[in-house]
């Protein structure tokens, strides 16, 4: 069994830097982590490998520094790692990203594709379903439990007020939520192997055979036309000092304004 895991490296701070020309995030120079939901996806793939036997192939698209995310994934237990990196991939929206990732996925004979539900920088939750559509395979999003029975998966999909139990044949794409598992820390041996014995393979647009017009900013149907910082200032009346007086003043105002 082959399992592909698509991960994303995301900035781990609230520090925001936007390119004034392309109006997209500048990733260089910002400390980065594996996106949390993607780590759950990776953990589940490794658990399946340990229980049933499988090859876990981890793939990311990003700048050269995204290699560190792949090394961490290898240290956790992934078998192979691929970094899709090319200037023409930059500035991709979710449609162009899914399109690029689908070209990579098609190079493998896969049974399961795992993604995280959503990334903490964009919060869109779109790439997983868009990738499944590009590959014409079924999808189950918001996955919180996976069981394997032969060529079929029994999956619990979270809903706002409960969950569904879904049966689906492989190949299938699943998106993981944090309830799925608790990701492991890499072992010392794992870290050693990730840097000494395993390889991160670089994949360019030419390697994928994609038309540069179809990927990155050029291949993106959506355009960010402006970004602003939110302003929600109010002229607040702030009480300080004696607690009893503060409370009496506050309640008096609320009564005057018919709030309570």
């Amino acid at each position: 069994m082959n399992i592909l895991v698509f991960i994303k490296q995301v900035p781990d701070t609230n520090e925001v830097k936007i390119d004034p020309v392309t109006k997209t995030l500048i990733r260089e120079g910002v400390p980065s982590i594996i996106n949390p939901d993607d780590k759950n996806a990776l953990e589940e793939a490794i658990r399946i490998k340990e229980e049933y036997g499988a090859k876990v192939i981890v793939i990311t698209m990003g700048p050269p520094q995204a290699e560190t995310a792949l090394r961490e994934a290898l240290a956790m237990g992934a078998d192979e790692a691929y970094l899709l990196t090319d200037r023409v991939f930059a500035g991709a929206d979710t449609y162009a990203t899914a399109k690029t990732l689908s070209k990579m996925a098609k190079k493998f004979d896969y049974d399961i594709i795992f993604c995280g539900r959503q990334a903490i920088d964009g919060d869109t939750a779109q790439v997983g379903p868009q990738l499944a559509e590009q590959l014409n395979i079924p999808q189950v999003t918001y996955v919180k439990e996976v069981k394997i029975e032969g060529d079929t998966l029994i999956v619990k999909r979270a809903l706002e007020d409960g969950y569904e139990v879904i049966k689906v044949k492989m190949p299938v794409l699943l998106t993981a939520i944090k309830e799925l598992n608790t990701p492991r820390y890499p072992s010392i041996k794992g870290i050693f192997e990730a840097y000494r014995e395993k390889e991160v393979k670089i994949v360019t647009a030419a390697d994928l055979g994609v038309d540069p017009q179809e990927v990155g900013l050029k291949g993106s149907p959506t355009k960010v036309i402006s970004t602003t910082t939110p302003e929600t200032q109010r002229a607040g009346e702030i009480f300080t000092g004696n607690v009893k007086e503060c409370v009496q003043n506050l309640v008096q105002r609320l009564v005057e304004k018919h709030v309570i």
Partner: protein, 335 residues
């Protein structure tokens, strides 16, 4: 591109009941359609759901497309994506809006990819620009930025919209519209996932999105024990308990109480933030409350900048005094 007309709303129903967010975005679609001089249409998919079409008209739809078929009884990605994408290919709407629910966020990207068009997630604002394009406004990077996004060259323009952000139009019992039944071109083999159970979990019935009064606790509450005090204040005010992400991540309270960019968007009449510093991601979820009160021991906490009233002090002293004062006032009213 000119052949694309009208603004569609995916009218999400579960067990033959319309989701609130669908009526909210229908209210917004109504405004956008009036601005462009086109129709606002609802797409109603399910089995035995035709009866809901009338309600959609009363909430602002000019046309309701009903796709009713036993294979569409429960939501499946492939079943719903197929019938909606087929209809969109045939009738060519200019815009399709979806509620950003666990279903809408599964369905919309699948359809966007099939129609080779753009999709903007979790919008908190929509508008039409001078060229007639849909402006899709959404927070990004945990609410640190507000981005305006367009889809200039592909159609339809598509967006999912956060529940609780848009306002329903007032129900107009006299409103009339057209109901068009569409034959679903679908067979069992089109749906490769099989749902064999839907489990409802008996959660604590907290519905903070509908509450008029919310008392929220954050990191300053200190632990699960501290939330008892928050509950007491909520009880005294006749409200419900909310929480910041910090409190939920710490495991002090369940995530259905969470307010903010990654939680729920609320717009209550009164929001009391206790021990919440006021990270932008929290403010993204409650900044539209009518009245905001902040209680925090740090006078420089950003929450005070968005508050109408604030008390600088230890919440473990302020809240008991506040409860006492509220009870005193309420008892006086009764006397």
């Amino acid at each position: 591109m000119n052949e694309y007309k009208d603004i569609w709303v995916f009218a999400e129903q579960r067990e033959q009941r319309l989701m609130n967010v669908s009526l909210e975005i229908l209210g917004e679609a109504r405004k956008l359609a009036d601005k462009k001089g086109v129709k606002a249409c609802a797409v109603l998919v399910g089995y035995g759901v035709k009866g809901l079409a009338d309600e959609l008209i009363k909430y602002g739809a000019d046309v309701v497309y009903v796709i009713d078929n036993p294979l569409l009884k429960n939501y499946t990605t492939e079943g719903y994506a197929k019938v909606i994408a087929d209809l969109a290919n045939e009738i060519k709407p200019e815009v399709i809006l979806y509620g950003a629910t666990y279903i809408g966020r599964d369905l919309a990207p699948r359809i966007a990819s099939r129609l080779h068009t753009g999709l903007t997630a979790d919008c908190t604002g929509l508008d039409i620009d001078e060229n007639g394009l849909l402006l899709q406004i959404r927070p990004a990077f945990g609410g640190n930025l507000i981005a305006t996004i367009i889809c200039p060259e592909r159609r339809p323009q598509m967006a999912t919209v956060r529940p609780g952000v848009m306002k329903k139009a007032p129900k107009d019992g006299k409103r009339e519209g057209e109901i068009i039944e569409i034959q679903a071109n679908i067979k069992e083999g089109d749906i490769r996932t099989q749902i064999f159970d839907i489990i409802k979990e008996a959660k604590s019935k907290v519905n903070i999105e509908e509450a008029d009064i919310i008392v929220s606790g954050g990191r300053g509450v200190g632990g699960a024990e501290g939330f008892k005090l928050i509950q007491q204040l909520a009880d005294a005010l006749g409200g419900v308990v909310g929480a910041s992400r910090a409190a939920v991540d710490a495991g002090w309270i369940s995530s259905d109480h969470q307010v903010g960019q990654t939680g729920k968007t609320v717009r209550p009449k009164l929001y009391v933030a206790c021990g919440i510093s006021g990270a932008i991601q929290h403010i993204a979820g409650m900044g539209n409350a009518k009245t905001i009160i902040a209680i925090n021991k740090n006078p420089d906490a950003p929450i005070f900048k968005v508050a109408d009233y604030g008390i600088v002090g230890d919440l473990f002293k302020v809240i008991p005094a506040l409860i006492e004062e509220i009870k005193r006032i309420k008892n006086n009213e009764l006397a």
